[in-house]
């Protein structure tokens, strides 16, 4: 048994489908991050689920799915600024990695697209 069940958690949905649990997190979080199944939270819980697996942040609370074979999917919330910081950090790493890969693979066409999108982004602010 994972340590999650020993932590102080709030239960928002129980015995539901994974899709409904993901929808709940997407609709009820201030920030939503998508991780791969097997992402580790709270030292020893490896998230189970069908990709994309959503994790939500609401204030200091992290919202996540918890799947039990005989009971379905639960949406739980636990206050953890540490886990939220780790999640944001891993998201920043992912973006950095994607940018680096983009630079490596970047063809002339790709760089044109990047320039175009930067110009469009700037234009949005001008308006």
């Amino acid at each position: 048994m994972s340590c999650i069940e020993q932590l102080k958690y709030r239960l928002y949905l129980e015995r539901t489908s994974f899709k409904e649990a993901r929808d709940y997190i997407e609709k009820n979080s201030e920030e939503v991050y998508y991780v791969d199944p097997g992402y580790k939270i709270f030292k020893d819980y490896y998230i189970i689920g069908v990709p994309p697996v959503a994790l939500g942040v609401r204030g200091d609370e992290i919202l996540f799915t918890y799947v039990k074979p005989c009971h379905g999917t639960f949406v739980m919330g636990i206050d953890s600024p540490e886990e939220i910081a780790r999640l944001r950090e891993s998201e920043a790493e992912k973006i950095k990695k994607t940018l680096k890969e983009g630079q490596k693979k970047g063809s002339a066409r790709d760089s044109t697209e990047t320039k175009t999108s930067i110009i469009s982004f700037g234009d949005m602010y001008k308006k």
Partner: protein
């Protein structure tokens, strides 16, 4: 050809009777073909398995489901083939997780009353073995025999 290859059988919730029967059958079949077979599950299906096979004649190795996920994620263990047994949405979530973390060839063994609809909902990369079977293991056994020769 299969000598030394490793297969993992992932059991879901044991409430549908055909699961244990087919797990024992498939484990035996794979072992006879030279596979090194491990069966993973939570306490309940593992207990059912151990009572049905008290001298580990058919299933030599068993493992806790959460521990197995941890070992694969941490890259301490992996398999060549993975058969995930499922008859519910939670079973599909486990199957998708193994497909995401393990380099094995994946099989989704889908059974139970809603096997067809559940099978159609699976969109992760796996070969589907689907049979509407609850008490009678025959239909699922036939499907398994077509895939695992």
């Amino acid at each position: 050809m299969t000598e030394g290859k490793k297969a993992l059988l992932v059991m879901g919730c044991p409430e549908v009777p055909v699961q244990i029967s087919i797990v024992i059958y498939l484990a035996h079949k794979l072992r006879k073909a030279g596979w090194d077979v491990t069966v993973a599950g939570t306490n309940a299906p593992i207990k059912l398995l151990k009572v049905a096979d008290p001298e580990s004649h058919y299933v030599k190795k068993t493992a806790d489901l959460d521990w197995m996920i941890q070992e694969i994620v941490e890259k301490r263990m992996d398999f060549d083939a993975c058969f995930a047994f499922m008859h519910s949405d939670a079973g599909v979530a486990y199957g998708a997780t193994f497909a995401a973390i393990s380099k094995a060839k994946h099989y989704a063994v889908v059974f139970g009353k809603n096997a067809e609809a559940l099978g159609e909902s699976i969109d992760y990369p796996a070969e589907k073995i689907v049979a509407k079977a609850t008490h009678n293991p025959g239909p699922l056994k036939s499907k398994i025999d077509r895939v695992v020769i």
